[in-house]
Symmetry: C2
């Protein structure tokens, strides 16, 4: 790892986890929960996974300022200057832009991996090899590298990346990014062998992404260019608190990746799930002998299978004649909903807000 | 009410409410819960209902010693000597025997109504008239009077009383007591006009039931005869604590009513339910516009009706695609069970005991 001192990691940790409401709440989103009962939260697992690859001092966590205490508590190893606190939620492009400007000011030669904090990766050895390979690639090329996951089923919940010409080994030119497909299309994607899941994990040099932002997403880069001399100085935090909220709300995919020409995909297969849905959580969790998945609770089940029980506070759940439901309990909210209807939960959260205000969010 | 100073009421209040587990718990059985959100618990409603009929000083509550504090709290009007504390659970015959010996020692002319504390009665004016009529009858006759409810549906959850010859007005000789019938038989009962629901409410003179116990249930009466001179004296409590547990566990129906020849039924119609089942609670509770019944919680429901939500602690329940279920939550236990399977809850409670000990009872 000759270049490892120039390698950085940015863990994005600002999500509010509304898709797992009420099990995850605005006050404790998904990344801060020990989803698998292993003793480590998803954020901690993300940190642990990157430790063999990056100098611990080069790991940054970007989160919303409301989550500062939770990050400090879960990752006490971090110095406070390793936690970048967004004063407002502005999606991934402003988040990544800030991290890139911050890192570039500290180390103009820096390369960086950007990773969500709430995904599951099961084969860590393959992960290490893939990330190392990706760093090596972007250190040699002026490349925006995204990680594409070899699909294992016709998943309709993910975006896909269509591959173009091979550059070297598992790294190929990106042909297109696609939206979430319907089931028929997802089956075609899977069979073609040309489509990979868009993981939301990126590797690039800090200056490569800054240049790409300036070219394709100047609404965002212009804000950070305003404060260029403040990064890495005591002026950075006041600058961010004042100007970050002025950034437009835009994703890095839409703002940069779908527009830039130097976009590459590394095709990887390290046991990945974005855990973005209850179904994904169910699929990635060990089942008990009745075919139910249990989070943090005891279950007595009768003629019931295919359910996921996500219940806080060491509770006993007794269930009879229920198939393929989500049962989620946060103490003051109980949700009972068929797994097939989980896309409606967002509307339910909204209805709860309309009816009861913020009390149950 | 010329005789009212000789009229007593015995409210039986020792049930453990296992059929509404986990909404009711051993630590707070059904009679102590404000089931209808009216501000009065079932016990308090039972007390209120009897107040116009009996001198408040002549109202006794018989309960298990573990519920003393709850009775005191819910009925602060009672003097402590109006609460008879059973040192053990021994079913209704020993409970009623003690109350009868206690009352007879105080007033040899006493008549008494014995009533459960966890039933619902909706037409209190008819109740008052019926009870007054019943007192008048037993004060004139050496009669064991039970109240039979005019059935309104072929209910399979109740015992029935078959009527014999009419004695006067709505009071008839009892022909037989029957066990809970199957549905076909219940329909025959309903159509015949000869069968009434066995309410478990009794009226008799204290000495009439004592004599009947001596004749038909001497296993029980012999225990109380042992301590006859202690009733109404400071010796009563030590006597009960020592000898009550020696009583056999037997119901007054089985021990006396099914055997005695001087048994009569007053046919009444005052809007009665024993609230012995979730279905009965559902049937007797106001429904919201979605057809769900809600106890103590807020509900957002989607494509869901016929459910009963009995949830402690002002919780929000969000439910989608659920029909005719019981959703009961006591804080540390959540039950989700089809209403049609409620007879299996007893087994579930037992399974919980086997698996987790007394923790969740």
């Amino acid at each position: 790892m000759a270049n490892s001192s120039h390698r950085y990691c940015v863990i994005m940790c600002g999500g509010i986890g509304s898709r797992f409401w009420p099990y995850s709440r605005t006050s404790q989103p998904k990344q801060f929960i020990d989803f698998f009962g292993t003793g480590r939260t998803l954020l901690q697992m993300s940190y642990d996974r990157i430790l063999p690859l990056v100098d611990p001092k080069n790991i940054l966590v970007v989160t919303n300022s409301t989550y500062y205490d939770q990050v400090r508590e879960q990752l006490p190893e971090l110095e406070s200057d390793q936690i970048l606190l967004e004063p407002a939620r502005r999606n991934t492009a402003p988040c990544i832009a800030w991290a890139a400007y911050h890192i570039a000011a500290r180390d103009p030669e820096a390369s960086m991996i950007v990773t969500p904090s709430d995904h599951l990766i099961t084969r860590e050895r393959e992960f290490e090899q893939s990330i190392t390979r990706g760093f090596e690639f972007v250190e040699k090329h002026d490349a925006l590298l995204t990680l594409g996951i070899k699909p294992t089923r016709p998943e309709t919940g993910y975006g896909y990346i269509q591959i173009g010409p091979r550059i070297e080994d598992d790294i190929l030119k990106v042909k297109t990014f696609t939206e979430k497909p319907n089931l028929e299309l997802a089956k075609v994607f899977l069979e073609s062998g040309e489509f990979f899941w868009n993981s939301g994990i990126f590797i690039w040099k800090a200056n490569t992404i800054i240049n790409a932002l300036r070219t394709h997403c100047s609404d965002v880069s212009s804000v950070f260019d305003l404060g260029e001399e403040s990064f890495g100085t005591p002026e950075e935090t006041p600058f961010i608190n004042k100007f970050f909220p002025a950034c437009m709300n835009i994703s890095i995919d839409f703002g940069v990746m779908e527009k830039a020409s130097n976009v590459y995909v590394e095709c990887v297969d390290f046991g990945w799930s974005d855990l973005g849905t209850w179904s994904a959580l169910y699929d990635n969790s060990p089942r008990n002998r009745d075919g139910n998945v249990t989070q943090n609770c005891s279950v007595l089940s009768y003629n019931s299978s295919g359910n996921i029980f996500a219940v806080r506070g060491d509770k006993l759940v007794v269930v009879s004649n229920l198939e393929d439901y989500i049962i989620a309990d946060s103490g003051d909210v109980l949700l009972i909903c068929p797994m097939s209807e989980e896309q409606k939960i967002k509307q339910m959260v909204n209805d709860a807000r309309i009816t009861f205000g913020d009390k149950y969010l």
